[in-house]
């Protein structure tokens, strides 16, 4: 069944300019985000997942730059918009929640001022009273007492601040919320409550959420689909059920095996050998080949295409599922 596409990323490239050369942190990534889904984006530190998240809002400054690709959001290409038009979309249509709630609120501004500012930035005519009333309603919905709105960020706990961040994203009924490791600095109980809240909000507001995390357990908990990144490349994409049930890419397989498991029963936990490649000089061919347990000759020389695996709706970038490779392997044997 065809699903409604909210955000379509086409051949996105993001580069960091460094003295040693350009680092391509997001390399030719293409994927679609469906309306109303929770998409989990996982990968190791430095694999480009946060860079991708920021690129979706064109939030990069300084050394990082989007060097190619198209970002189709709700029928318009964000890459063609002016900075001013882009600022109008940020906050109103796309919201973002950052990793560390301790530092993502302005320490010298009261909570209510954050919300009022968000509302008034996009709806210039709103009076302070109206905006405050809306803010109160919103935070009560998220489980924060309205009296606490007049507090400063340092007077709130991490979980509360993270809820404030959500309320900022929801203040104008954003269609898409990009949550960049929102639970990393929360303890497990607050994390659970927070994920629960995200799930509820998705159902209630028809929100689309891109959840960026390195915790694959979090994705398993609430996401509908899973996207796995490795060294700036998308290596696997599919619905959670399929991906967790039968992961296709060896990297995904390794990730899942490395998750501590109650059924492990004294066995040693799986360890992936090697370390993530230096993106300044990525390995030739498949970027995972130096660490891949099932490496083939073709992997060392040619990059695998990102394609559907036959018989499933999962997509992966691995020669194992390509007929050319299978044939070559046979010849080799």
């Amino acid at each position: 069944m065809p699903r409604d596409i909210l955000y379509s990323i086409k051949n996105l490239n993001v580069e960091y300019k460094t003295r040693a050369g350009a680092v391509r942190a997001v390399d030719n990534v293409s994927m679609d985000v469906f309306r109303g889904e929770i998409l989990g984006l996982v990968g190791e530190s430095g694999c480009g997942k946060s860079t991708l998240g920021k690129a979706l809002m064109r939030l990069h400054t300084g050394p990082a730059k989007i060097t190619g690709g198209e970002l189709w959001f709700d029928g318009q290409d964000l890459m063609t918009l002016s900075d001013r038009e882009m600022a109008d979309i940020r906050g109103a249509d796309i919201g973002m929640i950052f990793q560390d709630p301790m530092t993502s609120l302005n320490p010298v501004q009261r909570i209510v001022d954050h919300l009022v500012e968000t509302i008034q930035t996009h709806e210039a005519g709103t009076s302070d009273k109206e905006a405050e009333a809306r803010a109160e309603e919103l935070v009560e919905h998220l489980g924060i007492r309205r009296e606490r709105l007049s507090e400063y960020p340092h007077q709130m706990s991490g979980g509360m601040r993270q809820r404030v961040m959500i309320s900022l994203a929801l203040a104008l009924n954003s269609k898409l919320v990009i949550a960049d490791e929102p639970t990393t600095s929360l303890d497990v109980i607050v994390e659970y409550q927070f994920l629960d809240l995200l799930h509820k909000l998705r159902d209630e507001f028809g929100l689309t959420i891109i959840l960026i995390t390195h915790n694959i357990g979090v994705v398993a908990e609430i996401a509908d689909r899973l996207a796995v990144m490795y060294a700036g490349k998308l290596v696997e994409l599919g619905d959670c059920f399929g991906c967790f049930g039968s992961p296709k890419h060896p990297y995904t397989q390794g990730l899942l095996k490395a998750v501590p498991n109650i059924k492990l029963d004294g066995e040693e936990l799986y360890k992936m050998t090697g370390e993530p490649p230096n993106l300044l000089r990525p390995p030739k061919g498949c970027r995972f080949h130096p660490r891949c347990p099932q490496v083939m000759d073709i992997c060392r020389t040619q990059e695998p295409p990102f394609e559907h695996v036959e018989g499933t709706d999962q997509m992966t970038a691995c020669w194992l599922y390509q007929e050319v490779a299978a044939g070559q392997e046979k010849n080799h044997a």
């Binding site: 609120l105 501004q109 500012e117 930035t121 007049s150 203040a171």
Partner: protein, 427 residues
């Protein structure tokens, strides 16, 4: 159950709302509630605030505090603090009716009175001048009274006084301090009024007098005005120029930042006082030029601090978060970066006021500041420095005044930062 509840009251029941949250009360109450301020106990800051308040009151309303005008010559020079100046006084027999010099006036045709003085002392000059002055006033006297005393000179103090005892003269004029020493030898004599009138007898200057007989205390009081004017105006000018430049340079970055920083660093490379000297030397000495000179010296201080802070605040996640809600660049600068940068500016400002007062005093000290007719601590220091061995009070008190004001501003600045910065406020 009811008793239990009493024993464990919830905070809401026990405390007034403002006591639970200092963020909701005004500055005054939060200042009172704050137990500790930056680096010091609260009373430390309170004392500095009182000192600053006293300084401000004195600077704005010097007249009620200063006994004399800033340039008034009120007594003999080099009087030590509390010292009574010696005045020429009239010495007369115990039973004499004479009380003042004027009482010695007689009709023009009768015998002129004779007055004894000790030779070679300022008393004889004082007597002559004073008698002349009184005589001038008596010119139109209807009774024809004139005061033209014969002045008898003696070599010794004792001889001078003995002449009065012997009745050779009607009175003697000697220094009051001298008479005090020998008065026991002459029980039949008594001291009448000073021949100088009231001003000279007022005496007793709290902090002494300077080389030309001005009251040191009064000049200190009047000098507060100039110190405040120079300290505040130059710091405000430097702040108003330096802070926006630093903000914009760091926020915009690129070539603008490079050139501005180059300019500011070259200014900063000069020793402050030397640069100020150069500027006042070019512009000429006046209060306005001194303010300009000192302001130029301190602009780079603000610029550098604000630029550095802006660079670090700019990278904070909350600034990125602000962009993610679609805030405009100007809005980010105004609501996110500026308020987070300003606490460090407040600190520099208070230290800067103190510093500017010092630099202003330094300029005056070097003779590049204000004309000496203006009461200024720096000028007083410069003038007193020549007499450092004989009159310690000339430089000690202006020096203390500068030190106290500088200390008060520094402490208060740090205390105020504590109150205004919600991040550092202790609950």
């Amino acid at each position: 159950m009811a008793t239990n509840k009493k024993e464990f009251p919830t905070p809401e029941e026990e405390l007034a709302p403002w006591e639970q949250d200092l963020g909701q009360v005004g500055i005054l109450r939060s200042a009172l509630r704050a137990r500790k301020w930056y680096g010091a106990d609260w009373w430390f800051v309170a004392i500095s605030m009182v000192m600053v308040a006293v300084f401000l009151i004195i600077a704005f309303f010097p007249a009620p505090f200063a006994p004399y005008g800033p340039n008034e010559i009120v007594g003999s020079s080099f009087l030590a603090p509390g010292e009574t100046p010696p005045v020429p006084v009239l010495i007369i027999p115990q039973d004499s009716m004479v009380e003042t010099l004027e009482d010695l006036a007689v009709p023009a045709d009768s015998d002129r009175p004779s007055i004894a003085v000790e030779q070679g002392l300022p008393t004889s000059t004082a007597l002559r001048e004073q008698a002349q002055a009184i005589d001038d006033l008596l010119k139109d006297n209807p009774e024809g009274l004139r005061l033209r005393p014969r002045i008898e000179r003696f070599n010794l103090l004792e001889d001078t006084l003995q002449a009065v005892v012997d009745g050779e003269v009607q009175a003697a004029v000697v220094q009051s301090t001298d008479f005090k020493v020998v008065s026991s030898q002459f029980p039949t004599l008594r001291q009448a009024e000073s021949i100088m009138g009231d001003t000279a007898t007022a005496g007793n200057f709290l902090l002494g007098t300077n080389d030309i007989g001005q009251d040191v205390f009064s000049r200190l009081i009047w000098g507060a005005q100039v110190a405040l004017l120079i300290g505040f105006s130059s710091s405000i000018v430097a702040l108003v120029l330096g802070v926006p430049l630093g903000l914009i340079a760091a926020f915009v970055g690129g070539a603008l930042d490079r050139y501005l920083s180059l300019l500011m660093d070259s200014l900063y490379a000069f020793p402050g006082l030397i640069l100020a000297i150069a500027i006042t030397a070019i512009l000429g000495p006046s209060v306005f030029n001194i303010i300009v000179a000192i302001a130029v010296v301190y602009i780079p201080t603000y610029y550098r601090i604000v630029r550095g802070q802006t660079f670090s605040v700019k990278e904070e996640i909350y600034v990125e978060a602000a962009r993610s809600i679609g805030a405009r660049r100007l809005e980010i600068l105004r609501r996110y970066i500026f308020p987070n940068v300003i606490p460090s500016v407040a600190i520099i400002f208070s230290v800067n006021v103190a510093d500017a007062i010092l630099t202003g005093a330094g300029l005056s000290f070097l003779g590049l500041g204000l004309p000496p007719t203006i009461a200024d601590w720096g000028i007083d220091l410069a003038r007193g420095q020549r007499f450092i061995q004989t009159a310690w009070w000339l430089i000690t008190f202006p020096g203390f005044a500068i030190m106290l004001v500088v200390l008060a501003f520094t402490l208060m600045g740090e205390g105020l930062m504590e109150i205004f910065n919600p991040k550092l406020r202790e609950r």
